[in-house]
């Protein structure tokens, strides 16, 4: 007698909202990784541009363009990072009530999620104010 394998379909992640949220959370990591790489590139461009321009003044313009991409598309890359961070934080805070050590109803879960969002927004605003005060 044959048993039938019952494995998930290739598009299993479309089946439930929880699976979709999980996929969003995992893929938002790519956006954050792009943002992280952008900053490495940005810092590298600032450090090495002076050395390269000083020693090789007649540098290839294409190379020069590539080197200075982070300085030109500053807003775009930061937007990518910001969107990734927002998606990741919200979806992560959504599953946070799961790891609390007591039984919660759906209403309580939503309440804790909204409280976490409020705390996150409050802390972000505080950090922003502190940063702006120290810069100005």
């Amino acid at each position: 007698m044959k048993k039938l394998a019952n494995t998930p379909a290739p598009d299993w992640w479309k089946e439930k909202p929880a699976y979709k949220i999980y996929y969003f959370r995992e893929y938002s990591g790519i956006l954050i990784a792009i943002w992280g790489l952008y900053w490495l590139w940005f810092i590298g461009a600032i450090i090495f541009s002076r050395i390269i321009l000083a020693y090789f003044p007649d540098i290839d313009p294409v190379f020069k363009y590539i080197l200075f991409i982070p300085l030109k598309y500053y807003f775009l890359f930061n937007c990518i990072g910001f969107i990734g961070a927002i998606i990741h934080t919200i979806t992560w805070l959504g599953v946070m009530p799961e790891i609390l050590p007591f039984n919660l109803s759906k209403k309580q879960r939503h309440l804790i999620f909204s409280l976490l969002i409020l705390v996150w927004l409050g802390l972000s605003t505080l950090l922003f104010i502190l940063l702006m005060n120290s810069l100005l």
């Binding site: 394998a5 999980y22 799961e98």
Partner: protein, 249 residues
């Protein structure tokens, strides 16, 4: 007051290898569960559908199926709460033996790897192992597990990698590790934080959503991860601490 429901049941004949959906129309009362509906179909229509069931009060955990896409126990799912048509399928991630009966042996074997028992240290002076209500409170939630395997069926990670221990085994391991009377905690953590252990969990969270007993396996796995990290640090420092104490002697 009765209402008409269309029930779609996924069927599988192991002898012919045929796989199809049966459609039945029934008139259901308000208090009718999915299990009652299947019983009625089998009794009145002679459908010959195979499924497991026993206690009818969500204690034995044998009537787990997927109803309208969600892993549930048929005995505590009421037809009035479901959208028409009601689709009943066997649990996912397990091989189908016949119709709604699945082979859960592989997942049950993984429970064995979690060492699901307590080892008491009985001394001559005290022949019983005492546990306070406070200590019991820590393991009460995870003790409710009835091994229905709904969490394993809902876990996409288990479906993609059958070597993963699964949420059921992790929840049970957490329960025994947190037990104040237990003395094999470190041995259990070694196997649980290994290659196919808790680190394969990506925290989808669906296992806790489907659990009929609110055991929260997702939470247990995350706590096991913390315990695993502490265990790793402890075991890395232990030889150094031992050698230090030896040199002092």
């Amino acid at each position: 007051m009765t209402k008409k429901y269309t029930i779609r049941i996924r069927r599988y004949d192991p002898q012919t290898g045929k796989n199809w959906y049966d459609i039945h129309n029934i008139y259901a009362e308000r208090r009718m569960t999915v299990l009652d509906a299947l019983n009625q179909i089998n009794e009145h229509e002679r459908a010959g559908i195979s499924y497991r069931s026993s206690c009818r009060m969500s204690i034995c955990g044998s009537c787990g199926t997927i109803v309208n896409g969600k892993s549930v126990l048929m005995c505590n799912t009421f037809l009035k709460d479901l959208e028409d048509p009601v689709t009943i399928e066997p649990l996912r991630n397990f091989a189908i033996v016949k119709d709604l009966v699945v082979d859960t042996d592989a997942a049950m074997e993984k429970l064995r790897d979690a060492l699901p028992y307590t080892t008491f240290s009985i001394t001559k002076s005290r022949c019983e192992s005492v546990q306070t209500p406070k200590q019991l409170e820590k393991i009460k939630q995870t003790s409710q597990c009835i091994k229905c395997m709904l969490c394993v069926s809902a876990c996409p990670i288990y479906g993609l990698d059958y070597n993963f221990m699964g949420p059921a085994a992790a929840a049970i391991a957490y329960r025994y590790n947190k037990d104040s009377r237990d003395h094999v905690g470190e041995k259990r953590l070694d196997s649980l934080t290994g290659r196919n252990g808790v680190w394969k969990c990506n925290f989808v969270g669906e296992c806790s959503n489907v659990c009929p007993k609110n055991v929260d396996p997702a939470g247990a796995i995350q706590k096991m991860k913390v315990m695993g990290v502490l265990h790793c640090i402890k075991s890395a420092l232990k030889p150094k601490l031992k050698s230090k104490s030896k040199s002092k002697k």
